[in-house]
Symmetry: C2
Subunit: 504 residues, 2 copies
């Protein structure tokens, strides 16, 4: 059986692969028909050469070419939505409605269009002009960017269609996309639409290239290669840290999103005030999409009391009653199971769930665990193990002082939320907790669950290490996300005709 | 003889040091009287505890307290200028006029005042408000910052008065300053003025603290300590990389300035057009302050020809005629000497100089070396060894193609400059060279030498690795330099009364 070609310098080319892989339908647990290549270094050499050339060519083209491309690509994704939903459903097990067709696909299209709008109004470049001294500065593209997408968003974080891709192209960086092996056919369809849109817009041939898979060794070698200027990665902490180590050694900017527990603090007043609505909200967010979101709330914090005990008892019933869906891959299922076991070993009590199965295909029971603040303080890292998927750990603290001590032990997170009584009688406690939580999370919420990341200029989808690699940057929201793939460039006494347009 | 105290939590405290050091007068090469401590970890524990407390206290205070402090401190430095100039001259050998009294000291005062102005108008926080979605974001301070200053700017880059210090305080970060052992008494005077200004302004006691010296081991332990949120460093590449490795392992933002060769390309048309003026300009910049600037031009690029040969011959005479001054330390002198030898071993021909001595105290002859483009291409890293001080390497390329190949081998630099004929007949060549140089330098110049870094909002005193650790950030220029010590903080659905003032 033939192996699918890869996208090199504007055309589909045979891979030099000697090994290949299938995607697996997570609902049937059976392999899907197409064979995809695991690209060896021989595949990457022409890609790196083409990306280098494309960067020089891109710098000589007007910004409007990139904006045109982003808009044409957005329209093409929209036009291809039926096929994209059909294939992504097969590869990921995610529901066609509303998730794939009405939520993620429109979001992806919107991201590309917002990126195009940023290119057109040039706000991402932050031009600064000191006319008196004839010194000017702005952000300029870094060079070819390697994008590595995760398993859980086949469109919106896809390495050839998602936020990192849109940001890098908007900045003027060629992209070398490394697809996720869980959804290669979805990636192929997107790549083909990107290729056609790039041709239509007149992008240089090496601007958009794609391989499906790499061995870990080749991936690290690619990060180290001098022709790669920067990397955008979303995935596991272990992989992210391995990439970070190599990038750091080469002084190369790398932007990582490596998982997060997204703590939610449910103060007694909020529970007392609206127990039933809060229960729906909390359980709904924890189990949404089988918990397979980077912003899934993995940790809930409570103060001890009758209200909390009742709330947790009701959560158990919610977890029991909610239908179990399908997990993305066998790996997600197995990691989830071992993480739940590890949490129990670290001091958490299993309240419900804990076993694989319960749904169609790769699945795992909705799982709720409970521990005390004292146990958390005795093993803070063990009880912060991420159980990616539909598992939640409730930590019940004996008093506000213990809650503060517990929060101080949190690692860096993408999001954190505090629910409190709306009448303000918990405002004093809020003022004690907020300074602790504020610098541990990129996004602080009030009275709202962490799931759902609006593509807003004010969004921060980022946060302190180890949630990401650098707390200055956001992966979502234009124009800020574009500036990740840029360097600050000063023009001092440069003759007017030689300045970039944005500084003239 | 007693050892000088250190600045801990608002007062001068005895050090627990078991070892100590003297500053050395570089002009007499004799030790200066005061004994200063090499601080052991026991000195650092109370400092770290006080900085942690101060960060919480600072966050509860209005911004105006920090602005008041910066202004009061600026005024105090100005008032203490006589003593500061007298002491810094003894410790560094830098001339009182114009350098210390009329250039660096006013610059330092101006930096503190510009930082204060940024605090008052809050422009550094980049507030972004999405009212429709009730999402807001801005930059907030990271936490306690360790500042480590270099030997060559006793005021303007001093860890307790310079750009990193001003930026961190402006952001709202407490500072733990690690002085440079070459000018401890200058640092002591500055620290005392900072202490007094902090008291007057009402800064928390642990906001500004200072030690004079650390062993390398304790320095690395301090970088790794969880109570240090970020680091600002200016100094050698070897030390910078050692600190970066530890900071990277802990996912901690570190801002490094590690030296640069600041290439200057002198095209034939510019030489033809104004040979004598250019000669004065180039030699003047290369030898300014004995070449002890991070923006000193260490590499000059030429195209082969009679004009170039005459220019270089005239440079030799300039180097011969210019009076030799004093270098900052014995270390600078010895490193310079061994670097000049290493450059010769790597393929450079010595045209003039090359020996220690020639001036008062620690000194080294003005040194000019020459090599070819071909030799540079044969050993690009060996011929990019930084010879910090009054030594310059001229690289003569046989043609424009070779010059382009040579430029592609450059490591990341703070600054690069291109001189060309003003009539525009070299504009075609400029267009070939500019894309190569642009992404290798933080600041691109035309027809101007790299020395001199204006404190302008449009300045970039930064650049690609290994000149710095991250090409996104500048160490000079407000408000951008302040944002280094910040994280992006999003407030999503946060109740209005709980928002920071800048987002309300």
């Amino acid at each position: 059986m033939s192996i699918a070609p890869i996208l090199v310098a504007g055309s589909w080319q045979p891979s030099q692969a000697t090994s290949s892989f299938h995607a697996v339908n997570p609902q049937t647990m059976e392999p899907l028909p197409t064979l995809f290549p695991v690209s060896p270094w021989a595949d990457l050499e022409p890609i790196l050469a083409a990306a280098t050339t494309a960067f020089d060519q891109l710098r000589a083209l007007p910004d409007s070419v990139r904006a045109d491309f982003l808009e044409k690509y957005a329209a093409r994704i929209q036009d291809a939505h039926k096929k994209l939903v059909e294939v992504a459903k097969l590869e990921t097990g995610l529901p066609a409605e509303p998730r794939l067709n009405s939520t993620e696909l429109p979001r992806t299209v919107d991201q590309l269009r917002q990126a195009a709008a940023s290119v057109r109004d040039q706000n991402w470049a932050l031009p600064t002009i000191d006319a008196a001294r004839n010194i000017r500065s702005c952000y300029i593209p870094l060079g070819p960017v390697l994008t590595i997408g995760p398993n859980n968003f086949p469109y919106a974080y896809n390495s050839i269609a998602g936020g990192d891709f849109a940001s890098a192209i908007a900045a003027g960086c060629p992209v070398i996309a490394k697809g996720h092996p869980a959804h290669p056919k979805t990636t192929e369809i997107l790549a083909e639409q990107a290729r056609l849109a790039a041709n239509e817009a007149g992008l240089p041939a090496g601007t958009i290239q794609m391989v499906y898979h790499l061995t870990p060794e080749e991936g690290l070698k690619l990060v180290a290669d001098s022709r790669i200027a920067s990397i955008g990665f979303t995935g596991s902490r272990a992989t992210g840290l391995a990439l970070k180590k190599v990038a750091d050694e080469h002084g190369k900017p790398i932007f990582l999103e490596m998982g997060s527990l997204n703590p939610v603090i449910l103060l007694p007043g909020a529970i007392e005030e609206k127990a039933q609505a809060l229960l729906d909200e909390v359980a709904g967010s924890c189990l949404l999409g089988m918990g397979q979101f980077c912003t899934n709330p993995g940790l809930l914090f409570f103060l001890a009391g009758q209200g909390t005990d009742t709330f947790i008892a009701n959560m158990i019933e919610k977890y029991r009653a909610a239908p179990v869906g399908t997990l993305l891959t066998q790996g997600v299922r197995d990691n989830l199971h071992s993480s739940v076991l590890a949490l129990q070993k670290a001091g958490a009590e299993l309240l419900i769930g804990g076993q694989s199965g319960g749904g169609t295909g790769f699945s795992h029971q909705h799982t709720l665990l409970r521990t005390t603040g004292a146990k958390f303080l005795a093993n803070p890292l063990g009880l912060q193990r991420e159980a990616f998927g539909n598992a939640t750990l409730a930590v019940v603290c004996k008093d506000a002082g213990e809650l503060q001590s517990v929060l101080k032990q949190l690692e860096g997170q993408l999001v954190g939320s505090i629910y409190s009584h709306t009448a303000g009688n918990e405002d004093g406690l809020y003022r004690q907790l907020e300074p602790i939580l504020r610098n541990q999370v990129g996004r602080l919420l009030n009275d709202k669950m962490p799931t759902g990341v609006a593509v807003s200029p004010a969004m921060n989808h980022g946060g302190p290490y180890p949630a990401t690699g650098h707390p200055h940057f956001t992966a979502v929201g234009f124009p800020a996300s574009i500036r990740r793939f840029c360097m600050l460039a000063c023009y001092d006494n440069v003759r007017v005709g030689r300045l970039p347009q944005v500084l003239q």
